[in-house]
């Protein structure tokens, strides 16, 4: 499965021979000699059945998998930011202070305000996280990532807990933000449509390896009614083991 990115010499992410095992010896091998590279600015979506190791891979890239047995090499850029399924805003800090968590200086305050404005939360800087809706909380979490100008954005089902309408709006926002800031993105999702709408390339993880590596050649914005969209959807669902009944 040749992709146009493999030929790029400079990669934002380079993973080779990654093995991750859980449990007592011999344990369950979740990632089995997995190879992956992501180009700078490339948006990659990672699909897979539950338990296929999507989150394990993401956590490995985020450096959150200490005490996990495994081997292999991982190269990631210096500035990596993670967006989780829940916003993880600290409830005792106001929204702006959450965005600026761990940053210093007066100029970052302006940056934080700008990031909040970018995600449509201008004017909510002084709000407490509990005062925001689920979608707003997730947007604040996006702003917290943006303000750090990441070279790699790791997103673990960031819209999984949102309602369908909010999710569609968030897709547009994320796409726009990524276009403007240009980080490499690895989006873990279980939503095939979300993957096709957003990504330059969709991966399907199966049995600890990347089973499908499918570039999406569709212009933005992408429509669910585009026949090519449906074709991609059918392919990916088949790869995930879902037999769709042929709709009339």
């Amino acid at each position: 499965m040749a992709t146009d990115t493999e030929r790029l010499t400079e990669a934002a992410v380079r993973v080779s021979g990654l093995v991750r095992r859980f449990g007592e010896r011999p344990g369950r091998t979740v990632l089995d000699h997995l190879d992956l590279s992501i180009a700078p600015g490339e948006f990659v979506a990672l699909l897979g059945r539950s338990g296929s190791g999507k989150s394990t891979l993401l956590r490995a890239l985020a450096g959150l998998d200490y005490d996990v047995a495994g081997s292999g090499s991982i190269e990631v850029p210096g500035r990596v930011s993670v967006v989780f399924q829940d916003s993880r805003l600290l409830p005792w800090r106001r929204v702006l202070d959450n965005v600026l968590l761990g940053l210093d200086g007066r100029e970052v305050v302006a940056g934080g305000r700008a990031a909040l404005a970018e995600v449509g939360l201008a004017g909510r800087e002084r709000a407490w996280p509990v005062e925001l809706s689920g979608g707003e909380q997730q947007r604040a979490a996006l702003a917290r990532s943006l303000v750090r100008e990441p070279e790699l954005l790791l997103a673990d089902e960031p819209f999984g807990a949102l309602d369908a309408l909010t999710r569609i709006r968030m897709h547009g926002l994320l796409r726009e933000l990524c276009r403007r800031h240009g980080p490499a993105v690895l989006l873990v999702t279980h939503d095939v449509d979300e993957a096709i709408v957003l990504a330059d390339r969709v991966l399907v993880l199966d049995a600890g390896r990347i089973a499908v590596d499918q570039p999406i050649h569709l212009p933005q914005p992408r429509s669910h009614r585009d026949p090519r969209f449906l074709e991609y959807r059918f392919q990916l669902l088949t790869a995930l083991g879902v037999e769709e009944e042929t709709a009339a």
Binding site: A62, G63, F84, R88, L90, W92, R93, L101
Partner: protein, 281 residues
Amino acid sequence: MATVQMIAPPTLRRTPATAAPGRRRRLGLGRPIPYGRVLGPVVLLAAWSAASAAGLLDPRVLPAPWTVVGTVRRLIEAGTLQDSLLVSLRRAALGFAIGAVVGVALALVAGLSRLGEAVVDGWMQVQRAVPTLGLIPLMILWLGIGEAFKVVIIALVVAITLYIQTHAGLTSIDNRYVELAETIGLNRLRFIRAVVLPGALPGLFIGLRLAVTSSWISLVVLEQINATSGIGYLMFQAQNYAQTDVIVVGLIIYGLFGFLSDAALRLAERRVLSWRRTLSG
């Protein structure tokens, strides 16, 4: 689009709520009565007054409310009440302050490092199992029956209560926030300041409120067994002379102490944890 009109919803027949025989019974408690909490004490006071006025209550068992008011005036005029009050307050405040500092400091040592936990937590748990008031005989032998032993006992009670709650608050920080701090690259000091300490504040406040209550309880015990001053001593003396009215005054003052200190802490809690207020509306 034209299709909109084609999917008109099926008409629903509405049953008028008032006429319906099967109307649901409300099982919840409904709206609270305004000033409802004052009602109980007021009724009790009225019954007490009525019984006293009707001569049903032997004044040696329980004096009339107006007698108690008169006793308060008499004690204030003699200066006894103020003096006793100040002595008692000083004991409680000193013991509470020392206990709070020690308890929180130990909780921080145990909660923020594995070494500290290994050193401190074990014997704090042992200490917790020993009722502190049981240490009174030992403390009297060590420190005599002066102020020091009273303050130390109160401080111990407060320190242990606060330690347990604060330590629990510090060690129960949500792992999701720990992960966030790691991905954001907070250093240890910042992590403690931005995540651990604010996260432990609710636990600290629970500890403070429990500690303030137990410090009053200890005060009562201490002042009634071995004291030559203070509200408890006043009551103890009154017992010897069968002055029921003075005992009632002492009880009321203890009650007020407890009530006011808890109210003050609740106010402080609301201020400090204002990020939570929005939750309960």
